[in-house]
């Protein structure tokens, strides 16, 4: 498979078409927006955190397939995690997206590993990481995250 086909592999296109946990929920405890000013991308994340656990994770926004699929997979992975565990996974995801890092997968990231090819497309790494930075900002009580 070419890099391009790897980038837009079925799992990613499927999440783009049928994003999980998409849309603004009725209630949430934590919110942040993620901005990628260069692209004009905007995602919004809505978290319900109870006793340090991410009970629900939702997102909305119109973005490219990479950003949509990454957000969709991230919400599935994140739901039910403690914020401490989430931070650990966020750390792994950043390593997965690091183009100077040869590691191709982390067991703890599950389906999120399908995004690994993104790091061969440096201009798109920010698309994949935007929603993660937004959740990080929401957990920390910061209103806006940017990937600039």
């Amino acid at each position: 498979m070419t890099d391009l086909n790897q980038l837009y592999k079925k799992a990613i296109l499927e999440h783009n078409r049928n994003p999980r946990n998409y849309g603004k929920p009725e209630s949430w405890t934590h919110y942040a927006e993620g901005l990628n000013a260069i692209c004009g991308d905007l995602v919004e994340v809505y978290l319900s955190i109870q006793d340090g656990v991410l009970e629900t994770v939702h997102y909305s926004g119109e973005s490219c397939a990479i950003a949509m699929a990454s957000a969709s997979m991230m919400t599935e992975l994140s739901t039910g995690l403690t914020t401490v565990d989430w931070q650990q996974k966020f750390g792994l995801f950043k390593r997965l997206m690091d183009k100077n890092n040869a590691i191709n997968s982390f067991d703890e990231l599950g389906e999120v590993n399908t995004l690994v090819t993104v790091k061969k497309f440096p201009s798109r790494i920010k698309s994949a990481t935007l929603c993660w930075y937004a959740v990080d900002a929401a957990i920390k009580g910061v209103g806006t995250a940017t990937t600039e």
Partner: protein, 400 residues
């Protein structure tokens, strides 16, 4: 063939021949421009307007010849009306801070249009914050043209300045700036025209337009990055205070006071981008030799061909369909986001821009986060357009 004079078009991208359709972001440069830059560094490397030695004199001559070439290109009455700047952004900021600022009081109005690049919005917003003036906007319509029916009402007794784009970078719309300048002058309002996207495509005659200021970006018109000129009417430039203080812009300095140099040196503090200026002059000479009428005619052919060709891509909508426009095609495709299109067609060798193209208010008007933009230059070919279409069809197939 003029195309053969652009060596930057001969590279391969992802193993495919480059199809360069991002000319509105920055154009390619002809060999003559590259040679002029090299010639300066190799044979005339010295600072200008300073030394008495031979190289300094020959470098100064080259630099000032470039100013003459640029004056000829835009038909300025004299080369002294041209200030070398880094580009249109610096030109707009210079005018905002040294010409307009002193004329403003709280409640006064500055008029721009909905089609402006951020570089012709933000400097005015900064000025409004500094002075309490208010920014007003000439509206646009669905075609991407300015709605000028109410221009006479928008230019009122509070309006102190108007700054409008000649050719839209994101939609290609060519605005009727001569008519707009006339309308503003009828009410005594001076006008700046942002010509970043005009000089590479259409004839610019600042005397015919009668604008008070005109900005030119070097790298959009086949010249070097970081080069450009600001044209201003002599009486304005003479009355304006300096923008930056430093060397070159003075005629006498003591610790008590400084006497400023004459225009244009008054606005050219510090050692300038000498190679860039000389390269810009070469770009102007290139356009003059190629003939702007021929370039415009070729643009028109490419516009007609591309409009037809893009119809082969179902679900593709062109954003901005002004009657008068340069060969710029902003478009969206149902079901495929602009950034994904950009990435996929890049692998076919096709370079386009994706996003908001530094014109976020335009896409807010259309309710879009951004578009893909294919912006053509006269050296593009029908085959380039065919490759674009093939690559777009491929992107669609991948997302089916």
């Amino acid at each position: 063939m003029l195309r053969e004079q652009f060596p930057g078009l001969n590279v391969q991208v992802h193993g495919k021949p480059l199809v360069y359709l991002d000319n509105a972001a920055t154009a390619q440069r002809p060999q003559a421009v590259l040679d002029a830059i090299n010639d300066y560094y190799l044979n005339h490397n010295a600072n200008i307007h300073r030394g008495v030695h031979a190289l300094s004199e020959s470098a100064t001559v080259l630099y000032e010849q470039a100013r003459v070439s640029m004056a000829k290109l835009i038909n300025a009455p004299t080369m002294k009306d041209l200030i070398f700047v880094r580009g249109c952004t610096e030109g707009v900021n210079l005018v905002a801070q040294t010409f307009v600022r002193n004329r403003l009081k709280a409640g006064d109005e500055i008029l721009i249009s909905h089609l402006e690049h951020h570089s012709n919005i933000v400097p005015w917003q900064i000025l409004c914050e500094q002075t309490g003036a208010v920014l007003k906007v000439i509206p646009m319509n669905q075609l991407g043209e300015l709605e000028l029916d109410d221009l006479d009402q928008l230019i009122n007794e509070k309006t102190r300045f108007m700054s409008v784009v000649h050719v839209s970078n994101s939609l290609g719309t060519i605005n009727p700036v001569k008519k707009m300048v006339q309308a503003a002058h009828d009410k005594g309002v001076p006008v700046l025209v942002d010509g970043a996207q005009a000089t590479p495509h259409i004839k610019v005659d600042v005397q015919d337009l009668d604008c008070d200021f005109y900005t030119v970006s070097g790298h959009k018109m086949y010249g070097p990055t970081g080069s450009g000129v600001l044209y201003g009417k002599t009486e304005h430039l003479n009355s304006m205070p300096p923008y930056h203080g430093g060397g070159e812009m003075i005629s006498k300095v003591t610790f008590e006071s400084t006497v400023y140099n004459a225009v244009p040196a008054k606005f050219e503090a510090g050692t300038p981008n000498i190679a860039g200026g000389i390269g810009l002059g070469a770009a102007a000479e290139f356009i003059l030799a190629a003939g702007i009428d021929k370039i415009s005619a070729r643009d028109h052919q490419l516009r007609v061909y591309t409009e037809q060709a893009l119809k082969q891509v179902s679900g593709l909508s062109i954003i901005g369909n002004a009657k008068e426009k340069s060969p710029v095609f902003s478009f969206v495709i149902d079901g495929v986001h602009a950034h994904d299109i950009g990435t996929i067609i890049d692998h076919c060798g096709v370079a386009v821009r994706t996003g908001h193209h530094c014109t976020m208010p335009i896409f807010q008007y259309y309710g879009l986060a951004g578009t893909c933009r294919a912006s053509l230059a006269f050296y593009n070919t029908e085959q380039d357009v065919d490759v674009l279409v093939e690559s777009l069809l491929k992107a669609k197939t991948m997302f089916q």
